[in-house]
Structure formats: structure tokens, C-alpha cells
């Protein structure tokens, strides 16, 4: 698709109007979320919700079909020793592994997310990125996690980044599009806010913090800034956008802090896997351990939980 064929209804917003973000103030607000004390049934409810929001992820050069199949098995059977658990929201893999995941998850209501667009750096031509996307969708991906061209964004070439997202969205067809801002490379929260606004206007269904390949990955500060951008976009357009922090969220405690933040920033409507995801690989087992602790009163050894 030629870039000039961008739909008229989708317009690059004036990013000079995007409100500024005070990092000191954001730190203070985050500290307040972290001081919330979540106990008893509200904790159990939160832990189960977290499980259902996980995009179980493996994105390594050494991934094998076997490993992906194991991951899918885990996605379906989180911990059968404990009945009544939800399954995760999605499995997230590279495009070449989508067909493997699709077979392994056949008959289950679990999404197949694929990274695309020359993940993780995004250093390629638009044509390659679109082909990458179409290949993943064709192989059965129901969700596409794309990366933005950070170099172009940082250079101020917002038009390029915007058009690229619009084009990838078009290539996604029915698949949901998550736009990875790679906030660890954007430098400031002002830039994060600007990139969020740009991505939402370009047609992102979700905005996502990180690839997990760059440090820092997701932080609560960055996620709060993106949630506030989502809230303002909703106020202005009535359109809900999903949020996915990814990378570095490996403990239940931290994940609960994220839920508190979501709850107090966007409210109930976003408290479902449809609108919020955790991109994580090791979080699930920590949540399972905490859930077992809540029901039995004691911590079990990590050896009782499958590692895939």
C-alpha cells in the first residue's frame, strides 16, 4: 500500500498540543499506588485477574517449535493442581513460530500474538515490515505487536511514524494491533506521552511500553503516563485503547501495583484482559505461588510449578 493512500479519517494530530509531563510528580503518584495495601479476597481476585491478563511470551533467537508448544501447554494448563484458574490472554511469539502456536492452541480461547515489523529494532524498510506483518497474520496471529521507528520519532519525523502505523494497521486486517513505543529509547515521559498520542490517533488498538530487549523496559512511571494518555483520548473521542506494559514485571507484588494504578486511573472498564495485558514470561509462576500461598497458608517450592 502506498503511503499516500492513507485514509482521510485518520489524521496526524498536532503533537505540540500534547500536555507536558512532570517526572517528579509522576514519581510521587506512583509511590502512592505502591503504598496501597492489597489483602485477603481483593488480593486473590487481583492475582487471578493478573493471570488472565498475561501475554505469555518467548522471544528468543534460540526458540524452537518444542519450546513454543510447551509454552502453549502452559498457557492452557497454568497449574492444574489448583482448580478454577483462568487461562492466560495470549501467547506471544515470533512470526515463524505462529503456525506452531496455532496448532498447539487449536480449540482454545487463547490469542496468538506475534511480534512483527522487524522486531525488536524496527530497522528495516516499510515493505519488509508490512510483509512481516502479513506473514504473521496469514500464519494465524490474532494480535500483532509492532515496533515504531524510534529513530524517525526522535528525529521529529512524526509523519513517517504515523503513516507507518497506519499502514501496518491496514496490513493487520482483523488482527488487533499493539504498538510498541520502546519507551526505554524515548528518553523522557514527554516523549512517551507524545508517542502514545501519535499511536492512538494512527489506529493502535493497544499501546505497549517495550520489546523487553532494551533496559529500562516497563516502569510504573511510563505506564502511568500512557494510561493518562489513553484516558484523555477516551474523553476526547469515546474510543477505548488497551494498555500493555511489558518487560521487567516478574513479581505478583509489582503486578498488583500496576492493577491499582490501572484501577485508579482508568477505572473498572479497563480491568479486563480485553483492555489490559502484562507482557511477561516469569510473572505467571510467581502469581501461581502467591495464589497457592493464599489457599494453603504456606509457600511451596518453585519446583512445584512448571517452567517452560
Amino acid at each position: 500500500m502506498a503511503l499516500s493512500a492513507v485514509k482521510k479519517s485518520v489524521r496526524l494530530p498536532d503533537l505540540s498540543n500534547v500536555p507536558s509531563v512532570d517526572e517528579v510528580g509522576v514519581d510521587e503518584r506512583v509511590a502512592r499506588f505502591q503504598s496501597r495495601s492489597i489483602k485477603k479476597s481483593s488480593k486473590v481476585e487481583a492475582l487471578k485477574l493478573i493471570l488472565s491478563m498475561i501475554d505469555l511470551t518467548t522471544l528468543e533467537g534460540q526458540d524452537t517449535p518444542g519450546k513454543v508448544r510447551q509454552l502453549c501447554q502452559k498457557a492452557i494448563h497454568l497449574h492444574d493442581a489448583m482448580p478454577g484458574l483462568p487461562h492466560v490472554a495470549a501467547v506471544c511469539v515470533y512470526p515463524t513460530m505462529v503456525s506452531v502456536a496455532r496448532k498447539a492452541l487449536a480449540g482454545h480461547d487463547i490469542n496468538i500474538a506475534s511480534v512483527a515489523t522487524a522486531f525488536p529494532s524496527g530497522m528495516s524498510t516499510l515493505q519488509v515490515k508490512l510483509d512481516d506483518t502479513r506473514m504473521a497474520v496469514k500464519a494465524g496471529a490474532t494480535e500483532i505487536d509492532m515496533v515504531i521507528s524510534r529513530g524517525r520519532f526522535l528525529a521529529g519525523d512524526y509523519r513517517y511514524v504515523f503513516d507507518e502505523i497506519v499502514a501496518v494497521k491496514e496490513a493487520c486486517g482483523d488482527a488487533h494491533l499493539k504498538v510498541i513505543l520502546e519507551t526505554g529509547e524515548l528518553g523522557t515521559l514527554d516523549q512517551v506521552r507524545r508517542a502514545s498520542v501519535l499511536a492512538m490517533h494512527a489506529g493502535a488498538d493497544f499501546i505497549k511500553t517495550s520489546t523487553g530487549k532494551i533496559q529500562p523496559a516497563a516502569t510504573m512511571q511510563v505506564t502511568l503516563t500512557m494510561l493518562q494518555a489513553i484516558r484523555d483520548f477516551y474523553r476526547d473521542t469515546g474510543k477505548m485503547i488497551g494498555m500493555k506494559p511489558a518487560g521487567g514485571i516478574s513479581t505478583s507484588k509489582l503486578a498488583i501495583h500496576y492493577l491499582v494504578m490501572l484501577h485508579e486511573t482508568l477505572g473498572n472498564a479497563w480491568m479486563t484482559p480485553e483492555w489490559f495485558r502484562f507482557g511477561a514470561s516469569s510473572l505467571a509462576n510467581d502469581v501461581l505461588m502467591q495464589l497457592m500461598k493464599q489457599s494453603t497458608g504456606v509457600y511451596q517450592s518453585a519446583d512445584y510449578f512448571s517452567k517452560d
Binding site: V21, G25, R36, H263, E264
Partner: protein
């Protein structure tokens, strides 16, 4: 623009279970005497009054009501300690005692915060994270000055004053006690302190700490009672210095009584701070600053940001976001770790706040409160904002001392400045903008003792605090705070 359909929903759904701080480890005696000359003694007249938990309306303890005779005893004990061990002690030794007080406060921090919240109604999160650590920090800070006064006033000789009579309010009981006691002791004075009648418990616990720290008897005396006890301290001929924090009315009475006497005094009085939001501010963080400015400690804060000025072009957005944020504030049990807004300090204060809500509505203001439910027993007030009010409204002019915010809009810098300064008070102010130059200009132009930029209600022992105009006389905290407790010679 925001529309009604695009509203966020915060009620229902996932919520937080109660997370109450345990009170098992707390010991509150059924009755407290007066702390005079190093020990608790019965009041001469044998009278006691109740101190109640404002969240439950239950009595916590019976507190001695000090009469003139008790104040005489306390002042005499303070005088003897001043002439005796404390006055003769080497400054470095005095410093050691003050350090010891701060360390014991830190060790017993949990006990102090629980009692502060039980007696005063403030959320445990605030007493735990703000009041008690700051109280310890004040003692630490002034302990360091004890043997360095010559450096605080280069070329001058700083001499102690004698006996300091100190009267403190109910909004930050322990913190105000340490604001007053720490610099007084560091400068070599002795103290007679009266806590507020609704919140005497942490001051009496502090008396225990002072005894445990081994201070010589009479250096710090704590007498409890109401206005009459305070008046007896102010008028006592044996008192060399009066330090008062409280209402402007009482401050005025004290100033009249002290006129023509040799007593030195500092007064920390009311406020009606302007919190000014410019269109170029980081709006989401400014909204947090509004919340912190007016809802911190139920708005029982003399420097609360109780008048909000928002630049016209962002007013709708700011008010809409503020209303959303108010819905997420948790009002209720002060002992719950998740509570944001606790109980109003007393039934009297609640009545006063309610009367202002009526006044605000009758003046034509539009009142909005959060939709939270309130406990059945106890004294409570929902977070409240008034829009459509003006400089001539009483809710804009007068100090309400509750979680009630009066909002006005402005177009130009000058308009905001004139309105902000158009008040008999001048304790604090806030400015929110992304432009550094505007911050410096506004802080120069505002007639207020403390001006915060892109933040609000931040306190530190090294920073002086005090008001212009009817907000008070003198400064507390920092180097300036020493000045109030010394006379300077050549």
C-alpha cells in the same frame, strides 16, 4: 471535549479489602496527669476532660485540666531547670539529649503514628509517612545546631531566652510539638508546652520519651487543658518567650496580651493559600497537586491550597480531572492503610465546615462532592469543591480548615496575581507551570511566606516556615527558627 458518555467509572468492580493497622501494641492509660518537673502529677484542682477518637466518638483517655496553680508549678520547674542543670550544661551535651529524643521517636515510630491517628483522625498513611518521620527529623536537625550557634549568627553571641511557653494546635500534634521543642532546647531554653485539648496524647507520649531520654527534670513540661490553660501560660510573668500556632483570632488576643511586655513571641496563624495552575502546566501532575494541597490531612492544614486559580483555557479539563480523581479518594477509617482522607478532628470543627458548605451554596456557589459513602459513627466530610465563586464569597475569603476547595478561573498573569494576593492571609502559595521564568516571577510577586512550584505541602526541617500579614509573625524551621529562641549580643 469530554462528554457525559465518556465518563470513567471507579465504583463497583474490584475494590480493596480493609487493611487496618494493628492497635494491639499500643498502651494508652485511662487517665493522664500533667508532666511537670520530670514526672506525671495530678492536677491541683483534680479536674479532667475526655479525649475522643473522632472516627468512633469513643473516649480514649481522661486528660488533666491544668489550672493556674499547675501552670505556676510548671513554669517554676522550667525556671529551676534553666537556672540549674540545663542552663549550665555544655551545648554539645544538650545536643546529645536532643539526638536521643529523635532516636527514641524513630524507635517508637509505629506507636506514635497509631496514637496520632487514633486521637486526631488523620490517616495512618500520613502519620506513618509524614508526621512522625518529620517530627524525628526536626529533633535531629536542631540537635546539630546546639553546639554551633556561634556559626548560625556569625559575629554575634547567641544567648538563650529562658522559659519558653508554647501552645500548639490539633492538626499536627506531634509534629508541632517537635517544631517548637527542638529549637527551644537547642538554644538552651526550657519549655512549658500545651497541646490542643482534642489531641493531647502524642504530646504526653513525647513526655514519656523525654523522661526516657534522661533529660533533667523541668527542662520540658507538658501541661494539658483548654484555652484558659493557654492563657495562663501566655500571661505568666515567668515566661520569657511565647510560641503559638493556631487560629488568627487567638493569635490576635495573644499579641494584645503581650503588647508592652518584654516577652519575645512567634505566631503561626491561619491561611488561605492560592494554588495557581497555568495552562502550560503538566496538567495531570497539577491535579495531583490540587488534591494534595487541599485534601491532605482532611484540609486541616494552615498552609492548605484552599483557593484554586485555574487558567481559563484549561479550567474545564482540570475540573473534570479533579472530579475523577476525587472519586478515587478513599474516605473512612483512619487506621486503614488505604485511607486517603480520615475523620474530621472534632464535632466542633465538623460543624464549622458544614456551616461553610451552607454559606458557599447560599452565596450561589456550585458545590460538588465525591460520591463516597461515609461511616455511620464519627465525624466525616466528603472531599468538596466549589465552582462559580468569586473574591467576594466567604468560602473564598475565610479559612475553612476542612476538605473544601474554592475554584476560580483567570485569564492573565496579573489577574491571578492580584486575586491571589487579595487576602488578609499570606502563609503559602503554589504555582504550576512548565516555564521556569514564570515560576521565579510569580514567587517574587506573591506575598506569602512559602511558595511551592510544581508541588505543594512539602516540609523539611531545614526550610523556614511562616506567614505574611495575618498569617503570623516570625519564622519556624531552618536557621530562621533558631532566631526565635535566642537574644543576640555583641
Amino acid at each position: 471535549m469530554a462528554t457525559a458518555e465518556n465518563k470513567l467509572a471507579f465504583d463497583g468492580g474490584w475494590g480493596y479489602d480493609p487493611a487496618p493497622e494493628s492497635t494491639d501494641h499500643i498502651e494508652i492509660k485511662s487517665r493522664y496527669g500533667l508532666f511537670i518537673n520530670g514526672e506525671f502529677v495530678k492536677p491541683e484542682m483534680g479536674k479532667y476532660f475526655d479525649t475522643v477518637n473522632p472516627a468512633t466518638e469513643e473516649r480514649l483517655s481522661r486528660i488533666a485540666d491544668a489550672s493556674q496553680a499547675d501552670v505556676d508549678k510548671a513554669v517554676a520547674a522550667a525556671r529551676a531547670a534553666y537556672r540549674g542543670p540545663w542552663g549550665r550544661m555544655k551545648p554539645a551535651e544538650r545536643g546529645k539529649y536532643i539526638y536521643r529524643i529523635s532516636r527514641i521517636i524513630q524507635e517508637r515510630a509505629r506507636e506514635f503514628s497509631v496514637i496520632e491517628s487514633l486521637d486526631g483522625g488523620k490517616p495512618i498513611r500520613e502519620s506513618r509517612d509524614i508526621d512522625v518521620p518529620l517530627a524525628a527529623a526536626h529533633f535531629f536537625y536542631y540537635a546539630g545546631w546546639a553546639d554551633k550557634l556561634d556559626y548560625a549568627f556569625p559575629g554575634r553571641r547567641a544567648k538563650s531566652l529562658g522559659v519558653a511557653g508554647q501552645i500548639i494546635p490539633w492538626n499536627f500534634p506531634l509534629l508541632m510539638a517537635s517544631w517548637k521543642i527542638a529549637p527551644a532546647l537547642a538554644c538552651g531554653n526550657t519549655v512549658v508546652l500545651k497541646p490542643a485539648e482534642t489531641t493531647p496524647l502524642t504530646a504526653l507520649k513525647l513526655a514519656e520519651v523525654i523522661a526516657d531520654a534522661g533529660l533533667p527534670p523541668g527542662v520540658v513540661n507538658i501541661v494539658t487543658g483548654a484555652g484558659a490553660t493557654g492563657a495562663a501560660i501566655v500571661e505568666h510573668p515567668g515566661v520569657d518567650k511565647v510560641a503559638f500556632t493556631g487560629s488568627t483570632n487567638v493569635g490576635r488576643m495573644i499579641q494584645k496580651k503581650l503588647a508592652g511586655t518584654n516577652k519575645k513571641y512567634t505566631l503561626e496563624l491561619g491561611g488561605k493559600a492560592a494554588n495557581i495552575i497555568f495552562a502550560d502546566a503538566a496538567i495531570d501532575q497539577a491535579v495531583e497537586g490540587i488534591v494534595n494541597g487541599i485534601f491532605f490531612n482532611q484540609g486541616h492544614v494552615c498552609c492548605a491550597g484552599s483557593r484554586l486559580f485555574v487558567q481559563e483555557s484549561v479550567a474545564d479539563e482540570v475540573i473534570a480531572k479533579l472530579k475523577d480523581r476525587m472519586e478515587t479518594l478513599i474516605v473512612g477509617d483512619p487506621m486503614d492503610k488505604n485511607t486517603d482522607i480520615g475523620a474530621i478532628n472534632s464535632s466542633m470543627q465538623l460543624e464549622k465546615i458544614r456551616s461553610y458548605l451552607k454559606i458557599g451554596k447560599s452565596e450561589g456557589g456550585e458545590m460538588h462532592q465525591s460520591s463516597c459513602s461515609l461511616p455511620k459513627k464519627g465525624y466525616w466530610c466528603r472531599p468538596t469543591i466549589f465552582t462559580g465563586v468569586s473574591q467576594s464569597s466567604r468560602v473564598v475569603q475565610e479559612e475553612i480548615f476542612g476538605p473544601v476547595l474554592a475554584i476560580q478561573t483567570f485569564r492573565r498573569y496579573d489577574e491571578a496575581l492580584v486575586k491571589a494576593n487579595n487576602t488578609p492571609y499570606g502563609l503559602s502559595g503554589g504555582i504550576w507551570t512548565d516555564k521556569g521564568s514564570k515560576i521565579f516571577k510569580m514567587t517574587q510577586d506573591l506575598r506569602a511566606g512559602v511558595v511551592w512550584a510544581n508541588t505543594f505541602n512539602k516540609f523539611d526541617p531545614t526550610s523556614p516556615f511562616g506567614g505574611y500579614k495575618e498569617s503570623g509573625v516570625g519564622r519556624e524551621g531552618g536557621l530562621h527558627g533558631l532566631d526565635a529562641y535566642v537574644k543576640l549580643g555583641a
